[in-house]
Subunit: 206 residues, 2 copies
DNA sequence: TAGATTGTTAATCGATTAACAATC
DNA sequence: TAGATTGTTAATCGATTAACAATC
């Protein structure tokens, strides 16, 4: 089992999980099928079954999948049975928005610290959290064995922050800085740059 | 030319453009090569040359690419020679962050209107803009022939807003709502859900 | 010139889909 | 039982890479 699962498959699992949760919690459904799920997500049913088959057999012929069970299995596969502490670097407008976002907890994450290098921001309260001096970043990450970080600093500072995070053991980074970041092998990185996303779409505009 | 360019190729062009801009503006370089660009982005040089070859010949043997020229060509291909008006729906913390983000203008976009349905938010100023009543959404989009939108509302409201946007001619949507949106063919959609991105990475965490 | 690098072809690699036996 | 749907195989489709002639 699980010899070498393609990254593209892993990337779809959270989307399946999200839609299944919606089916269960918002619509009160008990069972679903690869066909129904695929139709809702614009993905072929064959692909969904193939993706899941990398990890085991979760359905029943004739009746499909028990949603709650499949959700449990996906949470297991994605290591979401624990809550992950996340360190947030950058307390600007975006950091502010992330710190106040209440959608993390329900889905397995908790922003537990916020850092900034601006003396005017250090000490400010952000929805339960207090902005800390980025000088203490290494100390907090090592002492708490933090593995995940979100970067919401300017492009100029992003690589330096990344290097510091990686040096003290961060293994997963979600970066909102509009720049490609260099990380050593074994460190996962995910980007979110609204402009890159918009620019992809303007190609299709007349 | 340009018979049917794969979407995955289009998606890389903004990243090339971003890095080329960095090379030119921040590092003052004049020329580059597919090898150098690829090394900086973690992409093979062959892939970069192949991607570009879909659109023409932009380099010279022996010397590579003139950066400013290639930037111009990419801007042309991606339809970034004009500035695109974008309508932002949702004036919560995230909408606030987007409205204040100054990185749009330089790269081809301008958030020109912000809407919300909360009477407490309507009328608030957000960096040049005033939050408008979402009841006027259709009027503004049609009268100004807007083609692009950013959705920063809750999951509950996102599909309804999408339907309204599409009905009045929006063709590209960047959505921050944690939900899959259904749109008719011809409408491009791009998602940003931090939790989906984090969940993909926890798979790789011990 | 010699070295470097392009654009392109063909080969390889990987992902998606169609189809169906198994079975609930 | 009859209908539905799984998990899986094989075929198809598409994307990436290696290699190199052309040429700056």
């Amino acid at each position: 089992m699980a010899r070498e699962i393609p990254d593209i498959v892993i990337g779809r699992l959270p989307v399946y999980l999200r839609e299944l949760t919606r089916l269960a919690e918002d619509e009160g459904k008990i069972n679903t099928s690869s066909h129904e799920l695929g139709k809702r997500l614009g993905i072929s049913s064959a692909q969904i079954r193939k993706d899941l088959s990398h990890f085991g057999e979760f359905g029943k012929q004739g009746t499909g999948y028990h949603i709650k069970y499949l959700i449990e299995q996906l949470r297991d596969i994605l290591h979401l049975t624990q809550e992950w502490d996340v360190v947030l670097v950058g307390a600007g407008y975006l950091g502010h928005a992330l710190a106040h976002y209440h959608g993390f907890h329900r889905r397995g994450f908790r922003i537990s610290w916020v850092f900034d290098n601006d003396p005017a921001k250090i000490g400010l309260k952000m929805d339960e959290l207090v902005v800390q001096d980025v000088a203490d970043l290494e100390k907090v990450v090592s002492e708490n064995n933090v593995k995940m970080a979100i970067i919401a600093v300017s492009a100029n500072q992003a690589q330096a922050i990344t290097d510091r995070l990686v040096a003290v053991g961060i293994q997963s980074i979600l970066s909102y800085a509009p720049i490609h970041l260099n990380v050593p092998p074994g460190v996962e990185i995910s980007y979110s740059d609204p402009v890159v996303q918009l620019q992809r779409m303007t190609y299709y505009l007349a």
